[in-house]
Amino acid sequence: MTDKLIIKNLHVKAEDKELLKGVNLEVAQGEIVALMGPNGSGKTTLANAVMGRPGYTITKGSITYRGKDLEGLPPDERARLGLFLSFQHPAEIPGLRVDDFLRELRERKKGKKQGIAAFRSYVKSLMDKLDIDQGFLERYLNQGFSGGEKKRMEILQMALLEPSMAILDETDSGLDIDALKAVAAGVEALRSPTVGTLIITHYKRILDYLKPDKVAVLIDGRIVREGGPELVDKLEAEGYAWAGKQ
């Protein structure tokens, strides 16, 4: 049995459209894997399929994590297995206070009630590290947050949940330089031999902070190339047209 996230010959359909056409990808614990690819190539679809978003049906192939086939498992059970997805477009929930929500997440993670004072000081130290203003605790989840603020809130939730496999879907997009550093620091802080990370990105920038062990390129629902960090430079220089060629 292995603790890896293993995506094997994955075919995924949504609304009768085949979006993934045989994806093979592995992310081991302790590893950072970068997934790159042009707009509409299926990166978010892959992340959704791993996290179990309704509407994305596996027609062929499999996703396994920690030796368990994920097909049919609801998203919350996948979260309990240690999976975490930082959303490209996080939902806004007016009326749900950030502090209440974060405390509930932490309580679920820890399996016991968290005293308000102790939780506050814990979450405040995390927020300091991620350079998030504490005023956000009193706001409603993601409501009216700027793009960058939403991304930081995703990383804050990741830090609270301490996942063993994190998928970051364009968490670096739209971030200013300081925010990018803070997000990278957040991922780095979580990094350990028992934590795997899949970074979906369009930019080399974040990969300068978080050196990937492996880079994969997804085009039109298929992984067309896999390599080391040098692949990122090659892509920057040559573009996806090159990657798509055999």
């Binding site: 179990g52 978003r53 996948r78 929930i93 009326g95 409603y140 939730q157």
Partner: protein, 393 residues
């Protein structure tokens, strides 16, 4: 200082009881409240007990009043001479007791109620809390007179001790007279038996610069029929009507919120938010009516229903009647389901589906407080009402 007033309100005087029964006999000529006014959602009027005169309307209602000493809040039958004159003058001065059969019954069957008077320029720091508990069918009249420049919050919880299968009827009337520059906030949480028809008429008159704010949270009742009307009669008067409903099972609710602008620079804010589960139905109608005498008037109304039950239904009908060009009004209505995207987001963070749905539904109701942002105390009152009742469904 806290003054606790335990008032049992049985009326044992036989001659009065006879007079009531006579009056009840005549009521049946009046029409029942209009319920079937929706576009597609049909509210079941059979839930109002038909044989009203056969019901026992002995009063076994308890009102537990907690209030500060500067205000007077007392049962009608404890009123002194001066207060009795006030009751005589103002009771049914806003609500027409012949409007329909139930309000007529209310008038005939009961001379019970609570009189609240806020003296001039008195600002109550803490709310007047009233817990109204019905044993069975009952009637209550709340009469609030806020004198010039006074300010108060009244928070009422309505409960029913009776369980069981018998269908019941509760009729209530609330009248608020807000004199010049007075500010009254009336919060209400209704959680009566799911076998009881709950009928409530509410009406306020706002004088110059006066402000009337309503908040209502409904979770109980087989049928809820609620009409809330504010008459903005003085220049610069303001009103706000916020409402939340948490319906489940086979509950039906029909409510209207009305604001009649009859003076310059008057403003209205109305927002209703409902969670409708099971096969519950809601029909909500809002009306802002702006007369020729109201230049500079402003009106906002919005209604949102979230259908969480597979057979739940809702109709929201916002309406504007504007007879003056110099006004600013907006209105809107939404009826929808829980967004799959929101559900997935919360579930991906480890909340199971049921919990995620509850969190989304509660957040939906809580976001009504966006309209009370400018007043932290009101916002807190609304929040505590929603949170106190979330566990009851």
């Amino acid at each position: 200082m806290i003054n606790k007033d335990h008032a049992k309100l049985p009326d044992k005087r036989p001659e009065q009881a006879r007079r009531r029964l006579e009056a009840i006999g005549k009521i049946h000529n009046l029409p029942l409240p209009l319920l079937k006014e929706g576009l597609s959602t049909a509210i079941d009027s059979d839930r109002i007990p038909k044989e009203l005169h056969n019901k026992s309307y002995h009063q076994t209602t308890t009102h537990l009043i907690t209030n500060e000493s500067e205000a007077t809040a007392k049962p009608f039958d404890e009123a002194n001479e001066q207060e009795r004159a006030l009751i005589k003058r103002h009771r049914y001065s806003l609500i027409d007791p012949h409007k329909d059969r139930l309000i007529a019954l209310q008038q005939a069957a009961s001379d019970n109620g609570i009189l609240i008077t806020i003296p001039p320029r008195t600002k109550l720091e803490k709310p007047i809390n009233i817990l109204s508990e019905y044993d069975t069918n009952g009637f209550t009249h709340i009469l609030i007179i806020a004198r010039n420049g006074s300010e108060a919050t009244i928070t009422r919880n309505i409960k029913e001790r009776r369980g069981g299968d018998e269908t019941g009827l509760i009729c209530e009337a609330v009248e608020i007279i807000a004199e010049e520059h007075a500010r009254i906030t009336y919060n209400e949480a209704q959680d009566v038996s799911r076998r009881t028809a709950w009928y409530s008429q509410k009406k306020a008159r706002a004088g110059p610069r006066a402000e009337v704010r309503w908040y209502s949270h409904v979770t109980g009742g087989s049928l809820t029929k609620q009409d809330t009307t504010t008459l903005l009669e003085g220049k610069d008067a303001k009103s706000a009507s916020l409402a939340t409903m948490l319906l489940a099972g086979e509950q039906h609710e029909n409510s209207t919120t009305n604001a009649h602008h009859a003076a310059a620079n008057t403003t209205t804010r109305m927002h209703a938010k409902a969670i409708i589960g099971g096969s519950a139905r809601m029909l909500h109608r809002g009306l802002i009516d702006i007369s020729e005498e109201s230049p500079g008037a402003e009106g906002y109304q919005q209604g949102d229903a979230l259908l969480t039950g597979t057979e739940a239904e809702a109709d929201i009908i916002p309406q504007l009647e504007i007879k003056n060009a110099d006004v600013a009004c907006s209105h809107g209505a939404t009826v929808g389901n829980i967004e799959e995207e929101d559900l997935f987001y919360l579930q991906s963070r480890g909340l199971d589906e049921e919990r995620a749905r509850d969190v989304i539904a509660e957040a939906f109701l809580i976001s009504i407080t966006a309209h009370a942002e400018e007043d932290e105390q009101w916002k807190e009152e609304i929040l505590s009402i929603i949170k106190a009742q979330r566990g009851t469904t």
